[in-house]
Symmetry: C2
Subunit: 343 residues, 2 copies
C-alpha cells in the first residue's frame, strides 16, 4: 500500500466533459445546473459555472453551506427536505448570506415546515423511478398548497433514475419529458405556473427532446464512471476520475490490489459486469471486493507486484465521498470539500 | 434532513459485545486481537484492550499511525503490504516510537521490501476465501524466505471470509483450523516454527475448536450489523451501531428516509434481504437505496413524516468509514479518528 489508493483526476478529460455537456445544454436551449454531489469540490464547480452553468444543484443543506462558502450563490437543494428547527436556522443563515436558494418538496406536510423561510420551492414529481415525488398530474394541487403558505413556487423537478438500466436511457428521457409536461400543465391549470421544469440524469441527458425541460441537472458526466461506460453513455476516454491502486498479490493467479470498497465504494448494480473496471484494460474484470482488496481477473500476463493500476469505480459519487483529496493528473491537489456532508 | 443522518452508538450494547467476545476467547484459551478497521476509534479500542485484548489488528499503515498516536503499542497490520520507500519510512517511524509492529506477507517479492524494517512478519495463508495468501502447505517455504532476509517470523494468519455466507460459518471455521494447522506443521518442518497462528472472523468465531488457533482477530462483533443478524451470528439486541434517519417522504405508500448509500454504505451480499434493516421493525425491508434516500417497505402503518428511525447497515465497517463522529446513546461523541485512512 503506502501511498495508494488515492483518487486521480485527469483534468483534461474533466474539462472536455464539462464543455461537452455545456454545449449539449446550449444546443437544446436549456439551462444547465450540474449536481455537485458528484464531485463535492468548489474547483470543479467553478469550471462548470465558467462554462455557463446557471448555478449548482446539491443534495443536502451541508453541501449548500460548503458551496455557498466557496462563493456560489445560486443553489437548488434537489431533495424533499424535512426541515426541523435546526435546518430552518441553517436555511435562514444561507438566505442572510445572499444565496438564492431553492428546495424540493413532495408533500403538503413538508411544505408547512418551509413557510417563512427564504427559499423558492420546486414540486418533485415521479417520472418513473418511483423513489420520491408526487404523480405529475398532482403537481398543481401541491403547488397551490405551497403557494398558499406564502412561498414562491419556481416549478417542478424530477429525477429519471430509471435511466440507470440497460436500454433504459432513452425511455427514461421520454418518461421525464412526459411527466414534466403533465406537471407543467397541471400547475398552469391551478394558477401556479411553473417557471422551471427541471430534469436530467447523465444517462438520459442525450435523449432529452427540446420543448419541455427548461433545466438539466446531470452530475456524473463531469467525472465519468464504470456505470456510464457499461450503460454506453461514455467510452473509457470519458473517464476523468480513477482510483490509483497498487498490485499487492498474485494469489490464485489473479491480480489483487489495495483499492477495495473503502476506496471504490461497494456499488454494484445487477447489470454491472463487476465491482468496477480497469482503465486501459477493457477485458479485465473486478470479480471480488473487500474493504482493502479488489480481486481482478486479468486477460493476459499479470502486471507485476508493486505495479500501479488505475481502477474505474462503478459509481463515482460514492467513491469520491470516501476521500478527502483529488490528485490531479497534471500535478497539484483539490480538496473534496463537501465529503461526508450528509445533512 | 437537518440533523440526520448520523451514527448512533449504543455504548451499553457495545460494552456487552466486547465483554462477550473477550470471555469467549478466554474460554477458548486464545489471545484476542480485535480488528480496529471496524470502529476506527481509539475509545472503542481502549474498551477492547481493557477487557483483555493483547493488542489491535489494523488494515493499513495509516490506521496503525492513528492507533499508535492514541497510545496503542502492539499492532498487527493484517495485510500483505507492498512497502515502497514512503511506506518503509512510515514503518520505521512507528518502530522508533516504540510500537511493536507486525505485518502480513504472501510473497517472497513483498518480503524483500520488508528487509531491515522494525517489523515481525506473519505469513498469510488462504483457508478457503481465495483472496490473498499462499496455500497452507507452502507456508514453510515462504517463512524460510522471510527468515533468510533477517526478519522475525511470528507465525501465520488467515481470514476465513467464506464464513460470510448462509451455512458458511461453521465450515469456514473448520477450514480455518485445518489451514492454520497445516501451515504450523509446514513452518515447524521448515525450521521456522510459528509462535502465533491467527484467525478469526466474527461469523466463524463461535465455531473455532480449541487446539490450533492461538489468536482471534474478529472486528464486526463490537458494533454488529445487518449481515451478522441475517447470518444468525447475533440478534437485533446485539446491534450497537445504527444510522439515525428521518422519514422524508411517503411516496408510493412506502417510507423514504434521508439515509442512503452515503450513510449506510452500498454493501449488499447476494444473500442479504435488502440494503440494511430497521432496528425494532424486523419485518421492514430496505428495498432501494440512492445516495440520500432509502426506500423501505413497512409492514404496517407508516411512521409519520419527520419521524426518526434507526437503520442497521448491512456492513458496519463501511458505514462507519462514511462518518466522522459517533453519537453515543447516553450522550457525548467519540471521533472516528481513522476514517478514510486507506493507506
Amino acid at each position: 500500500m503506502g501511498s495508494t489508493p488515492f483518487l486521480r483526476l485527469d483534468d483534461a478529460v474533466l474539462t472536455r466533459n464539462i464543455r461537452a455537456m455545456a454545449d449539449a445544454a446550449a444546443a437544446l436551449g436549456v439551462s444547465l445546473r450540474p449536481h455537485a454531489k458528484t464531485h463535492k469540490c468548489p474547483q470543479v464547480a467553478r469550471l462548470q459555472v465558467d462554462a455557463g452553468a446557471v448555478g449548482l444543484t446539491v443534495a443536502t443543506i451541508g453541501e449548500a453551506e460548503v458551496f455557498a462558502g466557496a462563493g456560489f450563490d445560486d443553489l437548488f437543494i434537489a431533495y424533499p427536505l424535512w426541515v426541523d428547527a435546526d435546518a430552518a436556522d441553517r436555511l435562514r443563515t444561507l438566505g442572510d448570506r445572499g444565496v438564492r436558494l431553492a428546495v424540493g418538496c413532495d408533500s403538503a406536510e413538508a411544505a408547512t415546515n418551509l413557510a417563512g423561510l427564504p427559499v423558492e420551492v420546486l414540486v418533485e414529481v415521479d417520472s418513473g423511478h418511483h423513489r420520491t415525488g408526487v404523480a405529475p398530474a398532482s403537481a398543481g394541487d401541491l403547488a397551490v398548497r405551497i403557494a398558499d403558505l406564502g412561498l414562491a413556487v419556481r416549478g417542478a423537478f424530477t429525477f429519471p433514475g430509471h435511466s440507470y438500466a440497460p436500454d433504459g436511457r432513452s425511455p427514461a428521457a421520454t418518461d421525464e419529458g412526459t411527466a414534466l409536461a403533465t406537471a407543467g400543465e397541471a400547475m398552469a391549470a391551478s394558477g401556479v405556473p411553473a417557471q422551471v421544469l427541471s430534469g436530467g440524469s447523465t444517462p438520459s441527458a442525450e435523449f432529452v427532446e427540446p420543448g419541455v425541460l427548461t433545466e438539466l441537472r446531470p452530475g456524473v458526466y463531469a467525472l465519468g464512471d464504470a456505470q456510464q461506460v457499461e450503460l454506453g453513455t461514455i467510452g473509457f476516454e470519458g473517464v476523468a476520475l480513477t482510483v490509483a491502486a497498487t498490485v499487492v498479490s498474485h494469489a490464485g493467479g489473479r491480480v489483487v490490489t489495495d483499492a477495495g470498497s473503502k476506496a471504490l465504494g461497494a456499488d454494484r448494480a445487477p447489470w454491472a459486469s463487476g465491482y468496477g473496471r480497469v482503465l486501459a484494460v477493457p477485458d479485465a474484470r473486478i470479480v471480488a471486493l473487500s474493504e482493502h482488496h479488489s480481486t481482478i481477473e486479468w486477460p493476459d500476463a499479470l502486471p507485476g507486484l508493486g505495479t500501479q493500476v488505475l481502477l474505474v469505480p462503478n459509481h463515482v459519487c460514492n467513491a469520491v465521498n470516501l476521500a478527502d483529496t483529488y490528485h490531479l493528473a497534471d500535478g497539484g491537489t483539490w480538496p473534496i470539500a463537501a465529503r461526508g456532508r450528509n445533512c
